[in-house]
Amino acid sequence: MLRVSVACEAAGVPTVSLVCEGFERQAAATGRGLGFDRLPLAVLKGHVDAQGYDEMVASFVEHTLAQVVDGLTVAIADDGETNVEPSALDTAVRGTLDEVHHEFATRGWSDGLAIIPPTRGRVESYLAVTGHDPWRILGTARPSGRDVTVWSLAVNAVMAGCRPEQFPVLLALADVLLDPHYGAQHSGNTTGSDALIVLDGPVVDDLGFNHGAGALRDGAGAPNTVVARWFRLVLRNIFGFTNDEHDKGTFGNSSRVVLAEDMGALADIGWAPLSADFGVIPGVDSVTVARMNGGLIVGSVVGSTPEQIVPYLADSLARVTGWELTHVYGLGQGQYSPLLILSPVLARVFARAGWSKADVQTALFEHARIPAWRFETLIGEWSNLTAGRRTLVDLAAEGVVPAVFAESNDPKRLVPIVTSPEKFRIAVSGDPNRTNAYVFSNDGTHGNWTSKPIDRSYSTDLVCSIENKGACS
């Protein structure tokens, strides 16, 4: 809600922001990143969802109310502090390899794993291979307010162990993070989902990304691992998602390696890759990203026809879906869009029967269903994310969910878990001959599915020397 307060302050209207205890630092950092330092907060003691009504109201009146009044009426002191930060080419740490590792970990600049120390020379050499102007600003990171520069992306690429030929993939991922539709500013939400990056196009094989056995395992494919590590380092160092600033994940998820689709298998069966769902022309290199709450292995799928294997796959999609229904309606609206990853042999079962991806999506829509009472309880009673505790029939009458959710008033009727068949996303990857699948529940508006093309052409931006920033403007 600091974003709301900032919009009001910018319009000349004073604000005070209500936050639960424990959110003070994140709120302050968000305000600072948006240009407003020390905006007033009124703190709700504890967490309102764990309090009875009388307890919550008593605490609010006793502890919070005076802060609301003060926040709107007491002048904000300027403490005169100015935080001097290093510039891009300054030496931030000088020391031996061990000392550099220790300093980076201690200052929160690394994930704790060993890094390649980003010396100036190493970063310059890295960028020289790509031809990119180091001082180009791609956008502003939200919520930190930091510039996303080519230089800063390259520093983190060196640290993660990424090779220069992977840099175009990293630039495309930066485009995702800067796209408001993706919503990078939500990357520290309390439920703690983490990104899944899907790679499509000739780049998969050209750069040696693993799409076979262990497709989602750390270290099974070096490019898959280091590119995903870079993504996490950038969220940490440039976007500000550390525990002392913007990361409020209660548990968080581990970083996921890049999922590369099996382009050969897709070509064989005539299916477009995942990125085509988001407007990328098949054959064009691309990254597609969404944040995922959790995943579930669908083991030992048995069947030689689509009709035999759809029920198990659909059941798995329903089982991986709980709190996420708030992205069908609640936190979001029609933004729940889970992912089914088929191993190539399972994808071939569909293709052999002449099924397109759309046919699979339609079948999943018919089979992946849960009782209406369960749906309503998850978004209303158990999670309190739907104001007014409205039923699916109410929501359909308002036009915010499709009529298929309200075909009767029977609480035991089965309803879909997404608003339309195409909301089921499908990718093909993994050991080509194993009959396993994997399902992921996405985190809706906290990291909407977003695709960006990858431009692997040599950049001509580097028309100035690194010493001569002015010539690059």
Binding site: P14, T15, C20
Partner: protein, 102 residues
């Protein structure tokens, strides 16, 4: 002898211009105070309590309820937040209480 490394900073400069907050109000008496809600964390129970307390304590205070501005954290967040300056002006708002970040 182990080599000594000069290592650069992995962060990037702040690109956001620092701005002064809006002037605070001299008092809440006679002011129009808006509630801006993210439709989360029991705001529908807390804001009525706040409205009652402010109305009792400050003569002439007027409350503009959250439903006037919509769900500011939902699927239309960007559009609604971008539209706030106009909405505040239209409703002649003097101060805003936003919530709930939990």
């Amino acid at each position: 002898m182990e080599p000594v490394l000069d290592v650069v900073w992995p962060k990037s400069p702040l690109g956001t211009q620092s701005r002064r907050p809006a002037p605070r109000l001299d008092s809440l008496r006679g002011k129009r105070i808006a509630f801006a809600w993210d439709y989360l964390f029991r705001g529908d129970e807390l804001f009525p309590v706040l409205a009652k307390e402010l109305t009792e304590r400050f003569e002439g205070v007027e409350i503009v309820n959250y439903d006037v501005f919509g769900n500011l954290h939902g699927p239309n967040e960007l559009e609604l937040v971008n539209g706030l300056p106009d909405a505040l002006a239209m409703h002649r708002i003097d101060g805003v209480v936003s919530g709930n970040g939990c």
